[in-house]
């Protein structure tokens, strides 16, 4: 049990924090996938835009800075839907995915140009850094942001669950996610449902931007890119067809990454990606429809 011995409370705390943030991102990606059948690779660039907003508004009161972060991210998310996703609604999944690559690179290139105006790469979001301090709980140092991350994730997920199950728009969204065409026939308004999903997904990206910027206040154009890729992998591993399995997948990959990192011998941690992705392959081979997609078989797709 030498592997488990190296996993202490500290690691568990970090693992929950990481898992919580990835779960939030997974919800944002999964919601849009549910209604649009579109894997949004550019999701990370929404978070990046939010992080830059925080960095450039460092001089403002923290609340104003965070509000403007949310405003920018939601506006960008809506613009993305209107200008890119809507014309692509009837395209094949490959075309949609590659178009979001292009949008991701576009936003990153724009961020680079804006960033480089002052002659140096990267901006520091200094105003919200204090959240990153550690507090001691029972002899374990836990960063305050970990609590915030877990709290925000739990709060956001409960709120979203209530909205999805208790309101009309939530019902419509779930109907659209399970069968868009039939839902429309029964009077669900496509554009309203999609706008709802896009706005919620944007709000979540804003929250993630704040959390990630607290952890790492140094904002660069590829901010959150790596996280997005990992979350996309986690979402598919968990089961992208349902929001809950997608969310669990996002949480699981964040959680497992931290645990594996702690369990590996120090000189072998450089091979962390290999171990995690080898696990991903094994899980996909055993459960192609998703790790948490119980009781449903992957049917042959028919038109």
């Amino acid at each position: 049990m030498t592997i488990l011995a190296s996993i202490d409370l500290q690691t568990l705390g970090d693992a929950f924090g990481q898992g919580a943030i990835y779960a939030l991102m997974a919800v944002g990606i999964g919601l849009v996938f549910g209604v649009l059948r579109l894997v949004n690779f550019a999701y990370g660039q929404l978070i990046m835009a939010g992080a830059y907003t925080l960095a450039y508004t460092s001089g403002w009161p923290v609340a104003a800075s965070i509000v403007s972060c949310f405003a920018v991210v939601v506006a960008l998310s809506l613009a993305m839907d209107r200008l890119v996703f809507r014309p692509l609604r009837s395209s094949s999944p490959a075309v949609m995915l590659v178009t979001t690559f292009a949008i991701a690179f576009l936003l990153q290139a724009v961020a680079l140009i804006i960033d480089l105006r002052d002659g140096q790469l990267g901006q520091v979001a200094s105003s919200i850094a204090p959240l990153n301090q550690a507090v001691s709980v029972g002899g374990v140092d836990v960063r305050k942001v970990t609590f915030v991350a877990v709290g925000v994730a739990v709060g956001a997920l409960i709120t979203l669950a209530l909205v999805l199950t208790r309101t009309t728009i939530g019902l419509h969204t779930r109907a659209a996610a399970s069968d868009f065409r039939t839902a429309r026939l029964l009077g669900v308004r496509a554009n309203r449902v999609i706008a709802f999903a896009v706005v919620v997904s944007g709000l979540l990206a804003g929250a993630v931007a704040v959390l990630l910027t607290v952890q790492n206040p140094f904002v660069q154009p590829d901010f959150a890119l790596e996280d997005t890729i990992i979350v996309l992998v986690g979402v598919v591993v968990g089961g992208i067809d349902r929001l809950w399995t997608a969310t669990l997948g996002g949480f699981a990959i964040g959680f497992v990454s931290v645990i594996v990192n702690a369990a590996l011998p120090t000189d072998k941690t450089v091979f962390l990606p290999s171990v995690v992705y080898a696990l991903v392959i094994v899980v996909l081979l055993l459960r192609p429809a998703g790790l948490f997609a119980w009781g449903r078989r992957a049917a042959v797709e028919r038109v």
């Binding site: 014309p87 692509l88 590659v98 690179f105 680079l112 992705y277 996909l284 192609p288």
Partner: protein
């Protein structure tokens, strides 16, 4: 059986286009020639990806792993023995004490790419859809991670330098032609058609006895061998390479080339690769001022903005790609336009 129309243009169209680019490349100035060679190597890579992704309809983000393996195998094995001891200090003695020539290194790259693809494909080809995309992406991540960190087989995170720059206009053109010919022969063969049938309708293909797993595995292996070969061409073009150059950015760029050209045809793969690399070259020239009718200069750093924006526009306005995903067929198109 009557030969279906267009068999000639299906091969000759892409081949002539590539030869044209090669010939124009030799007449260009030394500083511009690199753009043409780069475009030709891109053609080889994109055609390799097309052989699997285009014909099978299964998305793969993993083909650049085979390019990476081919590039590093061909690179490590062609650095002259006398320089190796200084550059590649911690490498296996067997690799350190032997070097091979240009053409053997390309064959080695192709063989390794094919074998690696076969081994990876054996379990992975059972997957389809997003699961296949993510699993092949995992292969890319693992390949990159191992190449970057395992210094016994290569340079690790440092630059592999002193690779002979043998990919000139001739080798780049011939290399692209080899890739196109193999792809053409494969897609015209019985096996290629069976795979294409499984792309159009997996259930029906299975019902008439197509072993989809087997056909996909074959295409994946052919694609892996071509990708390894293209990686060999690439390293001999660059002369020095890092693992980052055959990783995410190249994956996205080459996939974008394929989709912009038209996912489902060889003609689309070639046109997409040439169009996007041509645009990229033009834009990077334009950042330092270019003369087209009148001289204009793009602000520094805007190249990527324009490249990404134009790619997104093409995909939004023409989702089936520049060629519509169809092969070049003169007779057919004349009839249609009449």
């Amino acid at each position: 059986m009557r030969r279906p129309p267009g068999a000639v243009t299906e091969l000759l169209g892409p081949a002539l286009l590539v030869i044209l680019v090669g010939v124009v490349g030799t007449t260009a100035s030394a500083s511009n020639e690199g753009y043409f060679l780069n475009a030709l190597v891109s053609v080889a890579i994109v055609v390799a990806i097309y052989v699997f992704v285009g014909i099978s309809g299964v998305l793969s983000f993993g083909q650049i792993s085979f390019v990476a393996l081919g590039a590093f195998a061909a690179g490590v094995m062609t650095v002259p023995v006398e320089s190796k001891k200084g550059v590649l200090t911690s490498i296996f003695p067997l690799l350190r004490d032997h070097s091979i020539g240009n053409v053997p290194s390309l064959l080695l790259a192709a063989a390794l790419g094919g074998v690696f693809a076969f081994l990876v494909g054996l379990p992975l080809m059972r997957l389809s859809g997003l699961a296949a995309g993510i699993a092949t992406f995992a292969v890319l991540e693992i390949t990159h991670n191992v190449l970057r960190e395992w210094t016994k087989i290569g340079p690790g995170a440092t630059t592999l330098a002193l690779v002979p720059e043998t990919t000139g206009a001739l080798q780049a053109t011939l290399g692209a032609l080899v890739a196109i010919t193999v792809a053409f022969l494969y897609q015209r063969s019985r096996r290629g058609r069976l795979l294409r049938a499984s792309r159009e309708d997996p259930a029906v293909a299975r019902s008439v006895g197509v072993n989809i797993h087997l056909e996909r595995l074959l295409a994946f292996t052919v694609s892996g061998a071509l990708a390894g070969f293209a990686g060999g061409l690439y390293v001999h073009l660059l002369g020095s390479i890092t693992t980052e150059q055959v990783y995410l950015e190249l994956t996205f760029l080459t996939l974008a080339m394929l989709v912009v050209g038209g996912l489902t045809s060889l003609w689309g793969a070639v046109v997409g690769a040439l169009a996007v690399s041509g645009l990229d070259s033009f834009l990077s020239r334009a950042e330092s001022g270019v003369h087209v009718v009148f001289t204009f200069t793009l602000p520094q750093g805007t190249r990527l903005v324009f490249l990404a924006a134009i790619m997104a526009l093409v995909l939004i306005l023409r989702p089936s790609g520049l060629t519509g995903g169809r092969e070049l067929r003169l007779r057919w198109s004349l009839r249609r336009w009449r």
